[in-house]
Subunit: 315 residues, 2 copies
């Protein structure tokens, strides 16, 4: 990127130009503060987009998330008022760039639609950073008129809790058979999911899928009530055979209605913004630790206590 | 604790009074800054104790660490110039206070000796906090004349890396059979260990223990050279039958000689102090985030970007 013309980006995004949108997201992902600040200015220019629907989709590798997003996205696009942005927060993406390309090519129908935009969130060293950039990417997509955001994440590491801080609706994708621990899902994720889908419920696995769904349904009933007063649902689907995707999307719409009517959507987004403010303060403070390196080297002499030196440096 | 007499504590510690030592450690563990600062003052008063030997001992629950410490400690005490402090950093201690008492009563010989002091490091919400307090407890023990410190930790969570930031020598305790992953040890710990002991090498398990030791020996040879130029050793022992404990202790003494001669001990301790300074700065900065709660609530209005608000608040 040679010179960055903020106004050009704003105009492009306002007109739904995905090339300009991609450029702005790249700025948001930049580790150079000035570049990232331009992205923040652009987001601020457009202001909050309240009439969007953010769906977070988490599941272990192999759960069939990409196939599910392709199927769900195609179902969503039947509604001509919907425009979809797919953002993936995949920690494996750093290592195997091929997997992201693979995902993209697998999402044939979606990527062919002018009402869909697919973008893996790259860069960032930790999962936290990844999700942070994803938030800005999401806001930029919304500014460009994409009103339905699908955020894909792998339910391992700390990313899965962060995705709940991005999304209005949190979907957990599981496979037939095995408890959540057996499926490599961390404890506590189930309690966060508003909709659990047992994917790959086709052929021989259908019976097992129904059993798994029943088990999770029972387990969910034992859990404390959600702040949103929503009753979590368990569904069996087959993204590959396109079975149950319409029911799944309708359940998502039920949830969207529920949180709109109950005003939870606004409350929830406000809580999320408090989280992201604290997270940003945390990140900025952490960045400051580096700036003490020289002073530490200078002052840490024989007989100086690290704990006292820290107090002194921060005074 | 009614009024805290710093001088009384200093005098007590100087004379090796373990009651005063225990009081000072309790201050070091306090979440009240003023109390903790008194402990820091006391540590500062005594200054760094360079002629001490800090041994970190890590292993999964059930590896036989307490029995090993009892046996090793008894062996060490044969040297009349040695005084031992045993500090345990056990995350389970918060839940089952009984287990620590159990450990204490199991260490019959040690706890009966006037040249041994046993103290589990309690309190602290995270492992990090636990190890942080353990560091101060260690320094206080050294001030009281205990020149050989045995720090016990469970090799799970993040504690095992922190213990390497406390100790001069890092010992990993394993059992016969199974790789480190099978034994529930996190990846990377093996690369940190200067001595690996295969405990419970007695009776039927002796053959298996020798095989396990051979496997680990071979694995260690494939690893990059240690900064200390020390060649890591694998030993088979039986703490219960007191077999191989003398060889184990001699290996520890070899290491102590090695790092003294090569000057690594001082370099290593200095690196550790940089780590603890950064850690302390980090902790102090994290504590500051809370102080922004009111401002966040006040300023986080419609249209305000969390990322921009964070920048503004920290300006």
């Amino acid at each position: 990127m040679k010179t960055i013309d903020k106004q050009q980006l704003i105009d492009g995004i306002a007109s739904g130009d995905t090339r300009m949108l991609s450029k702005a997201i790249t700025l948001a992902e930049s580790t150079i503060e000035e570049q990232r600040n331009i992205a923040l200015d652009i987001i601020e220019h457009f202001g909050p987009q309240e009439n969007t629907f953010r769906i977070g989709i988490t599941g272990t590798p192999g759960a069939g998330k990409s196939t599910l997003i392709e199927a769900l996205g195609t179902e969503i696009l039947k509604d001509s008022k919907r425009k979809i942005a797919v953002l993936s927060v995949d920690p494996s993406s750093k290592k195997s760039h091929g997997s992201i390309l693979g995902d993209k090519t697998r999402m044939n129908t979606l990527s062919a639609s002018p009402r869909a935009y697919i973008r893996p969130t790259a860069s960032g060293n930790q999962m936290g950073g990844l999700a942070k950039n994803t938030r800005l990417a999401m806001l930029l997509c919304e500014a460009a008129g994409f009103n339905t955001i699908l955020i894909e994440s792998v339910g391992v590491g700390q990313g899965e809790t962060e995705i709940a801080q991005l999304a209005d609706l949190f979907v957990l994708v599981l496979n037939p058979g095995g408890g959540d621990e057996l499926q490599g899902i961390k404890r506590g994720i189930m309690e966060m999911a508003e909709v659990i889908v047992i994917n790959k419920a086709d052929g021989d696995a259908e019976k097992q899928a129904n059993l798994t769904a029943k088990e999770y349904s029972m387990a969910l009933h034992l859990m404390p009530e959600y702040d949103s007063k929503w009753m979590p649902k368990v569904l069996t689907i087959s993204a590959l055979k396109n079975k149950g995707i319409d029911v799944f999307w309708n359940k998502c719409l039920d949830y969207e209605q529920h949180v709109l009517v109950s005003n939870w959507k606004g409350t929830h987004r406000k809580k999320q913004m408090i989280y992201w403010t604290k997270k940003s303060i945390h990140d900025l403070l952490l960045a400051r630790i580096k700036s003490y390196d020289v002073e530490i080297a200078k002052e840490l002499k024989e007989g100086v206590l690290p704990e006292k030196l820290a107090q002194k440096l921060l005074k």
